[in-house]
C-alpha cells in the first residue's frame, strides 16, 4: 500500500550500515527540527521507499550492503513518487569520479566522511534549501 505524500512532511530518510554514522546523522537531523527515519542497508531503504515516499530528503551512504547509495539514487530517479526527494550521498571515498557519477545519477549534495556535525548541518541546509535538480558538493 502506498502512503499518502504529505506536502509538508518533516521526515528524512537516513540509510547507512554504520550505526555510529546513523546515530550522528539522526541526532543532527532532529536538531534541525526534522524526523529521522533510519535503515541499516540499501535493500531496506529500497523496500521502505517502495511503500513510503513521504520524505523531505534522503541521506544515503555510498557503500552499503546489498544495494549501494548510487544505485538507490538511480532507482529513485526512475520513480515518479521519489523523483522529487533531494538526496545527500555520504562516502568515505575521496574519489572525484565517484563525485561525478553521483551527480550524474541524481545526487543533490555530496558529503565526505568523516564529517563534523557542523559540516553535516551545513550540507543538510544546502540539501533542503535546493531543488533536487540543483547539484552541489558540500
Amino acid at each position: 500500500m502506498l502512503t499518502t505524500i504529505t506536502p509538508q512532511t518533516n521526515r528524512i530518510l537516513i540509510a547507512d550500515d554504520d550505526p555510529i554514522i546513523r546515530h550522528l546523522v539522526a541526532t543532527v537531523v532532529k536538531q534541525l527540527g526534522y524526523i529521522p527515519v533510519t535503515v541499516g542497508d540499501g535493500r531496506e531503504a529500497c523496500h521502505l521507499m517502495k511503500v513510503d515516499a513521504d520524505f523531505k530528503a534522503a541521506i544515503l551512504d555510498m557503500s552499503m550492503p546489498y544495494l549501494e547509495g548510487i544505485e538507490l539514487i538511480r532507482y529513485m530517479r526512475t520513480e515518479k513518487r521519489l523523483k522529487r526527494i533531494p538526496v545527500m550521498l555520504i562516502t568515505a571515498e575521496p574519489d572525484i569520479r565517484l563525485l561525478s557519477d553521483s551527480f550524474s545519477a541524481g545526487a543533490t549534495v555530496f558529503l565526505h566522511k568523516p564529517f563534523t556535525p557542523e559540516q553535516l548541518q551545513a550540507a543538510l541546509r544546502m540539501l533542503l534549501g535546493t531543488r533536487s535538480s540543483t547539484r552541489r558538493a558540500a
Binding site: 555510529i20 550522528l24 563534523t116
Partner: protein, 190 residues
C-alpha cells in the same frame, strides 16, 4: 616479535606516529596520509605513503630507527570537540552514545579483517576496512582509520607480504583506541 620489530623489518613504522604534533595544519590525521583516488596502489607506493607520514618522527629520532612514540594520542580530542557541538541540553551524552556504539560495532569489523587476511580475501578486507575506517574517523580514533586506509589500498599481490603486519598494527592501535575511548567514557559519565 614485537609489532615495532615487525614493522621495522618490513620497512614500516608504527602508524601511531602519523599524528606527530606539528603535522601539516594541526588537523586531525584522518585524511592526511593517503587521500588518494587510486583504487589500488603498489606496495612501493604504500611504503612511500607510510614513510612520508612518519617523516617527522624519523627526523625527531634522528637515527632512522622507528620507535614507539607514546605521546601520540589514540583519541583525537579535536574530533570529540566537534561532536560535542551537536550535544543538546537535557539529552543523553552524544559522545558516550557514539563510543558505546563504536565499541559494540567495531570489534566485528576487526575480526572480519582478520579472517579476510587469513584467507587472503582482498575484496572482503577492503569492504571491512572501509566500514571500520568510517566509524573510526567519526569517533576520533584516527590511527585505526589510517590503518584501515592502508588495508584498503593494499593491492592483492601485496597482501601476502603486508597483511599480517597491517593486522598487527591494527590490533595494537585498536586496543589503544578502545582504552582511550573507555577512559573518555568514564570521564564523561563520572
Amino acid at each position: 616479535m614485537s609489532v615495532e620489530q615487525a614493522t621495522t623489518n618490513v620497512g614500516y613504522a608504527p602508524v601511531s606516529a602519523a599524528s606527530e604534533p606539528g603535522s601539516p595544519g594541526g588537523q586531525p590525521v584522518c585524511g592526511d596520509v593517503s587521500d588518494r583516488a587510486d583504487a589500488a596502489i603498489s606496495i612501493e607506493a604504500i611504503d612511500q605513503t607510510v614513510l612520508a607520514a612518519l617523516a617527522p618522527v624519523r627526523t625527531a629520532c634522528g637515527s632512522g630507527r622507528v620507535i614507539e612514540d607514546s605521546s601520540i594520542e589514540a583519541l583525537d580530542q579535536t574530533v570529540l570537540a566537534a561532536l560535542a557541538e551537536a550535544q543538546e541540553v537535557g539529552e543523553p551524552d552524544l559522545i558516550v552514545e557514539l563510543i558505546d556504539l563504536y565499541l559494540e560495532d567495531a570489534p566485528q569489523w576487526v575480526e572480519a579483517i582478520r579472517a579476510a587476511v587469513a584467507q587472503a580475501d582482498a575484496a572482503s578486507i577492503k569492504r571491512a576496512a572501509h566500514t571500520l575506517k568510517g566509524s573510526s574517523g567519526s569517533v576520533g580514533v584516527c590511527q585505526v582509520a589510517e590503518i584501515c586506509k592502508l588495508f584498503e589500498q593494499t593491492d592483492f599481490d601485496s597482501l601476502a607480504a603486508r597483511g599480517e603486519t597491517l593486522m598487527q598494527l591494527l590490533d595494537r592501535e585498536f586496543e589503544r583506541a578502545r582504552a582511550a575511548l573507555l577512559t573518555e567514557r568514564d570521564r564523561r559519565i563520572s
